[in-house]
Amino acid sequence: MKHDDRSYRAAAREASEARFARSVAACLSESAERVSPDVAERLRFGREKALELARRARGDAQGLGVTASGAAIAGFSQSRWWLRFASVLPLVALVGGLVLIQNWQNRTQISVAAEIDEALLGDDLPLNAYRDPGFSEFLKAPPNE
């Protein structure tokens, strides 16, 4: 009996609190409608900016969907990871190509130098070389110097 009375009083108290709170909230709503034109205008501006961004966000999402479905038709993965990898791929190919070109040029230069050395060493010694004073000195010098 006592318990029922206590719970009844608690419920009544909660109900009166809720009624009071809703009355205060109604006053706050009324007050909120009385904002200055400047504030209302700035809120409108903010809202329109937000809506524009929402439209753009949806557009981007749809664009991404189209790209992904195209990739799916070609048999590729739809994941963002793959798209990111694909965007880096041309750069990797460019760097690889440059390294290959550099390597090929080095090999060509070495090959040309080797051909010149081979031609010089294989050629006969001209007669004037024997009359050169330096050559005589070279012959007189001990072989281990």
Binding site: A21, S23, V24, L28, S29, A32, V35, R42, L43, A57
Partner: protein, 188 residues
């Protein structure tokens, strides 16, 4: 997914209340406008693909976070905590009669002569001032529960606390408001 019209209508319906809530919290009109704009932009950018029914709760949560971000930026969080602790113990009002104040809000305020209109504007201002003076958590719970009309579970989710805490905050806020309004002469 919410359409442009649904999103626009929703923002239009909450923007003024959101601005007021931010003003109560930060007590700076311009900062409150920035907070509301930031909230609308965050909602639109990140949750434009959500159903319209989910927007109210998301909006309230983002607004709370944006307000907290503002406080963090202002480095006045300690002040807020101090205010909170000052009011925390003021919830027990004994035999205070809440209905007495309730009747004042529902009775004479409904008349609309010029003098009473001015009087009403003053009373609304007083009520707003008292709401702004509530401790931050009590005010947030009170406004979410009774102004934004979220249920207890939604309010708890939005505030990141238990349902019991929401009920306690709301009850304390109601009693603090009733007591303060009575002290200001808003009685029958």
């Amino acid at each position: 997914m919410a359409t442009d019209k649904e999103l626009s209508d929703f923002l239009k319906s909450v923007e003024k209340r959101a601005w007021k809530r931010a003003v109560y919290a930060v007590r700076d009109d311009d900062a409150a406008l920035d907070i509301v704009q930031d909230t609308m932009i965050r909602l639109s950018e990140k949750y434009a693909d959500r159903p319209a029914a989910e927007l109210p709760l998301l909006f309230q949560r983002i607004l709370s976070n944006a307000t907290m971000d503002w406080f963090r930026r202002q480095k006045v969080k300690n002040q807020v905590v101090r205010n909170f602790s000052e009011y925390e113990g003021a919830g027990d009002d004994g035999d205070f009669d809440i209905l007495e104040t309730l009747e004042a809000l529902g009775g004479p305020l409904q008349s609309e002569s010029a003098a009473e209109s001015v009087s009403r504007a003053q009373i609304l201002q007083t009520i707003e001032a008292e709401v702004a003076l509530l401790p931050a958590r009590q005010r947030e719970a009170f406004l979410l529960r009774y102004w934004e009309e979220l249920d207890v579970a939604e309010t708890a989710a939005s505030m990141g606390c238990s349902e019991g805490s929401v009920k306690t905050h709301c009850s304390r806020a109601v009693h603090a408001l009733a007591k303060a309004l009575k002290a200001k002469g808003i009685t029958t």
